[in-house]
Symmetry: C2
Subunit: 220 residues, 2 copies
Amino acid sequence: MTTTTEENYLKAIYHLSSRHQKSVLTSEIAGSLSTTSASVTDMLKKLSDKNLVEYERYKGVRITRKGEKVALSIIRRHRLWEVFLTDVLKFKWDEVHDMAEELEHVSSDELVKRLDSYLGYPKFDPHGDPIPDTNGKVPANGQQLLSEMTSTGTYVISGVNDHSPAFLQFLEKKGLVPGTVFSIMEIDGFDHSMHIEFQNRKSTYISKEVSRNILIKSHA
Amino acid sequence: MTTTTEENYLKAIYHLSSRHQKSVLTSEIAGSLSTTSASVTDMLKKLSDKNLVEYERYKGVRITRKGEKVALSIIRRHRLWEVFLTDVLKFKWDEVHDMAEELEHVSSDELVKRLDSYLGYPKFDPHGDPIPDTNGKVPANGQQLLSEMTSTGTYVISGVNDHSPAFLQFLEKKGLVPGTVFSIMEIDGFDHSMHIEFQNRKSTYISKEVSRNILIKSHA
DNA sequence: AAATAAAATTAGATTAGTCTAAAATTAGAA
DNA sequence: TTCTAATTTTAGACTAATCTAATTTTATTT
Ligand SMILES: [Mn+2]
Ligand SMILES: [Mn+2]
Ligand SMILES: [Mn+2]
Ligand SMILES: [Mn+2]
């Protein structure tokens, strides 16, 4: 029905859509998939013919309900496989993304269903991203960006926005993995760097570059 | 390095090679992959350029040691995934082949290694086929074709040669699954049909069509 | 040893996905 | 509002994999 390439385009368009309300631009997609605008234009026509996106020449593209359903099903598979790789095969959270990029295209619905059941119906993947259910509903997670916090308070790390191994390994080294509880002690007025303290009283500094890629929830 | 298509050709050539000593013919490969001889000829040139097969125009093809290593690594992945699907996700043995056909092309070696370890280093897949090790060594299994038996005796079913769901479901219905112990009571001289008896004294008849697709070992 | 049949290869197209370079359109600055 | 710059689309080409139809080679009969 949809090829691996089409699926990757839909996933990219879906993710880019969730970053703003406007139509997704050709160049955004090209950047996100490391391809050329010319290739993207070709594919947008193809996806439009299949009613997976609404495309208007020079105006960018919006994903349709039908396209969104496909994207969410691929994202569901991706995140379930990531849970499998970390929880069952004991991979580290910075090692699983590329394998999941391949596994997400394995097409059997029954396989995904059984995998979900075997994993105990997880709601979030190892990076704190929510796993859409079979109907494409994404569990609400009350996550906020650490960089958006303006006052002191105690929080728990729930996920990340940058999934690159380099960033994940950096967080690991700093002790900033999902589940970690910490308090914001001070936010610098000039560069928005944060002074945070862990429960064991140790503390560290975080640049805005880092805080804008960390997702948090307030700590009970 | 190798595309999914190239991997499927190598697997087919490897399997066909093991059926006879001679070179594998273009038409055999075309038949096995449900494609045309013209397409096969094109691919044989490509595989030959990569030193994965030795190809001589009009003379058929032999797989090289290098090509065999690739084929065995794909077969290893296929069979390990089949074990995962039956043992872990509880699929039936007639349901797993098509999923394994997709999963076998997921490229991470580390994934296969961890899967193998998680499954407890199985030596055979759910259909009784041996799982090659990392070095491409195939465990000897002392299997024989049921149709080759010429005298009475007691045996245990260890595998099958026909992996189609239809055949596997037929075997299931007849109670002829791997592990089943039975005795050959009589072999008909005319059509080679066999009268066999199970350990519980129940008995049934098996046509040559069926017995030539059942693998057995002698029972201790 | 021809003639014929079977098998394999080549020739020429097609589709999916990609690219570079040129042309068209839109948006921003003067 | 007109000019310029950035973005986007088209045009044309390429690779991988496939097909049909025509040609060539090999094998089998007469
Ligand atoms: Mn991922
Ligand atoms: Mn993830
Ligand atoms: Mn199989
Ligand atoms: Mn098998």
